[in-house]
Amino acid sequence: MTDILTAKKVTKRFGGLVAVNSVDFHIPEKSIVSIIGPNGAGKTTFFNCITGFGKPDEGEILFEGTPIQRLRPDQITRLGISRTYQNIRLFADMTALENILVGEHAFLHSSWISSVLSLPGVIQEEKMALAEAQRLLDFVGLRNKGDMLARNLPYGAQRRLEIARALATKPKLLLLDEPSAGMNPRESEDLTVFIRRLRDEMGITILLIEHHMRVVMGISEAVTVLDYGEKIAEGTPAEIQSNPRVIEAYLGRGAATEGMSTAHERHSSSKKSS
């Protein structure tokens, strides 16, 4: 399998702090890959480097062979990378449907003049955009919620709407930043199924940041562990679970003897309570 995304020695600094330190990373096409790590390990910063929010100070990121580290976020999105956010960032005062329509922005071409004149091409394009938005709403299970303001949707629906909006940009690679945050076990289970569907039905490569180990270990084909901005491990879920460096990073020295799965459960539950 070819790699859809390759990061070579990516480094990002904030002043003296090295948030991401010379990380090598790659995602095979049509796979589900997770990044895990303790809080402040640089996971979200790494996400931001990929999506163009924060340009890496050193290194190179190739998306389907194209270097993207100097591109603007909107240009990267047009190439086929889309993302969701750890703390949901919907357009709160716009309706669910409008949120998705904004996601389609890059694929619509009508200029403002033709919109004002309401040329036939514009009408046709808007009709198709609306149909597509409606289809995505249905896909994430929000049929009939299209006219609701995003802010008034329940939490779980907001998460799904954010994914629908990301899908509207027709991504080849979808970055999900803690999609199961704040979900109960049942909802996380549904999410796992949903993420698999994204890959299997739509052929989208998925990169996850996750704290829920059950989710991570359940669906990832490969896991990368970051700690203090450095990649400390990489491999299949089984390999990661038995890697002493990972256990050490999560629990500190001396705790490596404890069982990995219980440790992670403890970690994630303490995360939730904090």
Binding site: T51, G52, F53, R72, P73, D74, T77, R78, S82, R83, Y85, R89, F91, A92, D93, M94, T95, E98, L101, V102, G103, H105, A106, L108, S110, W112, S115, V116, S118, V122, E126, A129, D147, M148, L149, N152, R165, A166, A168, T169
Partner: protein
Amino acid sequence: MKRENFLWNAIKMGLLGGVITIFICLVGMTEIFSKRAVIEKVLTLGQFVLLATIIAAGFLAARRTADLSGRKEPVLGLTAGLVAGLVAGLVLALLVFLGFQVNLRAIFLNASTPLYNLLTFGKGEGYIWPLPLIGAGAGLIGALLLLIPDVYRRPLTRGLIFTFFMALFSNLFRVVMINQKGGVAKAAKYLFGQTGLTVEGALIFFITVVVIAYLWNLRGKEVQARFSRLPKRGQLSLRVLALLLILYIAAVLPTVSGPFIAQVIVTVALFILMGLGLNITLGFAGLLDLGFVAFYAIGAYTVGLLTSYGPFGLQHVSFWVAVPIAVLVAMLAGAVLGLPVLGVRGDYLAIATLGFGEIVRLLAGSDFLAKYFGGPQGIIGIQKPCIGTLGAFVRVDVPRVCNGIELGTVQTIYYVAIISALLIAFVAWRLRESRLGRAWMAIREDEDVAEALGVNLIQTKLLAYILGAAFAGLGGAIFATLIGSIFATSMQLLVSINVVALIVVGGMGSIPGVIVGAIALVGLPELLREVSEFRFLLYGAMLIFMMIAKPEGLWPSTAAKRELHHADAENVTAESMV
């Protein structure tokens, strides 16, 4: 329940009301407003304002009482209203009493003998005692307004408000109606006095509105239901009929109303144009621009320079050619402003644009550029629009001749302004519904996310500046030809602030909101000349009141409404499922 508490509350409310009445007196409002009647020979506007304040105090005191006791107890409520009114009256009486003893004029310019005469009904020092009594009565009325059942209160308050509005704008209606001659003129003389309404007029208006409002309360739902039961084509034709009626009124208005009202409407239309422009940058895209008048000035100066036959006219092209050029120049200016401030956000953006507005004004009025823009003398002799061919003219001192219809008066430029405003409102509406409009709103909500969804921030923000500037430029162009001359001094910062205020009051991002806001903040003060002296006082009061009571604006944008509809729809389905 604590009874002493409710009395104390009433006294507090009364003191507050009293202080406000004193304030109103001391800023000179009472004296100036007293020259105008609400009901002729019965009630002046000055008295009305004081009375209304005390009535409000009584109303609020009664409401607090109801809140405290958890239900509406008539006796307690009325007592509270009475006490509040009495206290307010006493406070006012105290002012008059003090005024007769000590000379307050040294500090408060308006604390003069005429004021005291007004407050004692011209009878002098011995006549202070009615004030607390009147106050108590007003307080009682306020409490009564709260206590009577909703079915009666609504029609009553509507009647009062309508009658008051008729009184405020009585000279307007009077002029229009008297111009009609015959029976209409006679009716005008019967209903309206020199200023304000006649007693008969007030009663007629009040009773009519009360009756209509009462019937509407009883039957309104039914009528609405009947309308929605009509077949689609019937509904449509009714709507078209209403629209035609409005258009007809708009078309004949300037000919029957005379130049003054046409002038006011044109001013409102110009502010609507500016408001619609700023509504794009601020309301849609969320980019605060405090120097918006710059684009207005640029539009005006471009038309001035291109059409003036005064000393600074560069060319003498027709108005119709000059306007598109002015709009283009304004768009260019929008891009010039937009480019450097693209990366600036929030408060910094406000300051940067503020600077831009001032720079344009100062440059236009400066001696440095006086040989191009006329400096403080401004540009004079700007052409009026001409429908038809223009006679050629080359020498600046010879006015050109219009072979056709010249739109030389306010009443004719009225049509240019109104049509432009309607056209631009339509354009703004189409823009909002378009792909670009959605991108603007996304930027307003969350710039970073919008960019991550593929919205090109530079392009989209620049377009917001450019199109906003275009609308304002068009407004400026019409302004220039309306006045016939432009001066840098009329492009004050205050105009920009005015435009921001009208958008906020009307409802951010709402197109009808801009129109309502322009009418409320520009039209009404123009019509009420007495008010103009206190314009900014009332402005400030209104803005504060709006921010507290109705922060979404007088006519909020559709997103909020759509949400309400959705809630309704959900209720309906929930009910039908039960």
